[in-house]
Symmetry: C2
DNA sequence: CGCTAATTTGACCTGGATCAACTACGGTGG
DNA sequence: CCACCGTAGTTGATCCAGGTCAAATTAGCG
């Protein structure tokens, strides 16, 4: 883990801008948020279930996922987080984390003190509303994942997830022309879809065959 | 569907009180919320995916669930809602619903205009914070369901869900001494756990056998 | 070029689905 | 009071999507 002072929070502006309009003052306040930047290797833990973080982290570059592990190493991934996301925003309101976060790729994160975020949202209710809407959008994605986990076939589920990620990346300008780089292991994809890595592999081949 | 003027929102006080403290003024403001009460039969739709509701509904009595249906009648239930819950609170911030709600039992609902709720939360930021925390708690439950859908065995999943419902009912005083009435069909339980009604039946027998 | 992690392939197995019958039970109407 | 019905709950037989295990083949990468 290394620390650097050179960073830019514009990717957050882009994300919030895709949810609703921001005034110039609001943009400025966001850009001036104090942050500590850290660069992490792939597969490193960021915060663990049970901790009480004092900062939220913003993904500047790379991919992160949230997950939980139960007995016998069974793991369920709940979400993939891409640049612009604030994966543990909820720690502002629920002090102890009920799940963990780790990196999937080389990743750059900006850690912002809870206190600064609280000031920001108190001063700009509109930003608070955008954060709130962002979590409601995430809840909608959760529901879609549940539908896939419970009631879709393996290939439907995978196809749906790939499309969803395309849309998510497109919103922050990281995907165009129906293409994007997908730096996730088939094992991880399995942990997200509730499938085994072997079956993920076979279903992906099947989807490729069908276009 | 019948309409009556005789109702009490105290069950909401109880629910919010189990999340955080409420001042006397706040309690009063909640009790004075204008509401239209309706009594519904079991298995009736309340609001459907795609609608733009102008009211939120509060469960006063009975059980409600949120769900989505995909091709070939496959249905996934996302949550069970019991008295004190405001299942579609999110419609305050995301105008069009992405899933549906229906009753499971004879149910009494109070419909509260969005406008009144917006006034309430604007006037009492503490109430807004409690609502916000309530949705974060729900998100935590969503994650637990995903874990069950994706990575737990059928019996683990069922057992977990039954325990969770016990705790939820206990919070509003509807369960004591490790007992509660569970008015849900095995078919519905299957749609919540991603299992078939037949397998739910067998797993319940198995759990009963083991205590 | 060698090492490690990821993907792919094949053989075989199993948890849970499906289908179909049968039972229990609370109405409801005669 | 009983015959009839519709809705859940049970049970049994059979099937298959997806899991498990293990080995083989790439893909990176220092």
């Amino acid at each position: 883990m290394s620390v650097t002072a050179d960073y830019s929070l514009t990717v957050l502006l882009r994300k919030l801008g895709s949810i609703g309009p921001l005034s110039p003052e609001e943009r400025q306040a966001i850009e001036r948020l104090p942050a500590t930047v850290r660069v992490l290797e792939p597969r490193q833990e960021i915060v663990r279930e049970g901790e009480r973080p004092s900062h939220c982290f913003l993904v500047l570059d790379g991919w992160v996922c949230s997950y939980k592990i139960i007995s016998q190493g069974r793991r369920q991934i709940f979400a993939f987080h891409v640049p612009g996301d604030l994966p543990d925003l909820q720690s502002l309101h629920v002090p102890v984390l009920d799940h963990s976060f780790c990196t999937l790729t080389h990743t750059t994160l900006a850690f912002v003190p809870h206190e600064s975020l609280r000031e920001l949202t108190a001063r700009f209710p509109n930003i608070a509303a955008l954060f709130w809407r962002a979590t409601l959008i995430d809840a909608g994605i959760f529901r879609e994942w549940m539908l896939g986990l419970g009631r879709r076939t393996a290939s439907e589920h995978l196809a749906h997830m790939l499309c969803e990620l395309y849309l998510k990346l497109q919103a922050v300008g990281l995907a165009q022309e129906h293409r994007y780089t997908f730096p996730v292991t088939q094992q991880d994809l399995g942990d997200a879809t509730g499938l085994s890595n072997v079956h993920v592999n076979r279903m992906l081949q099947d989807l490729r065959r069908r276009g």
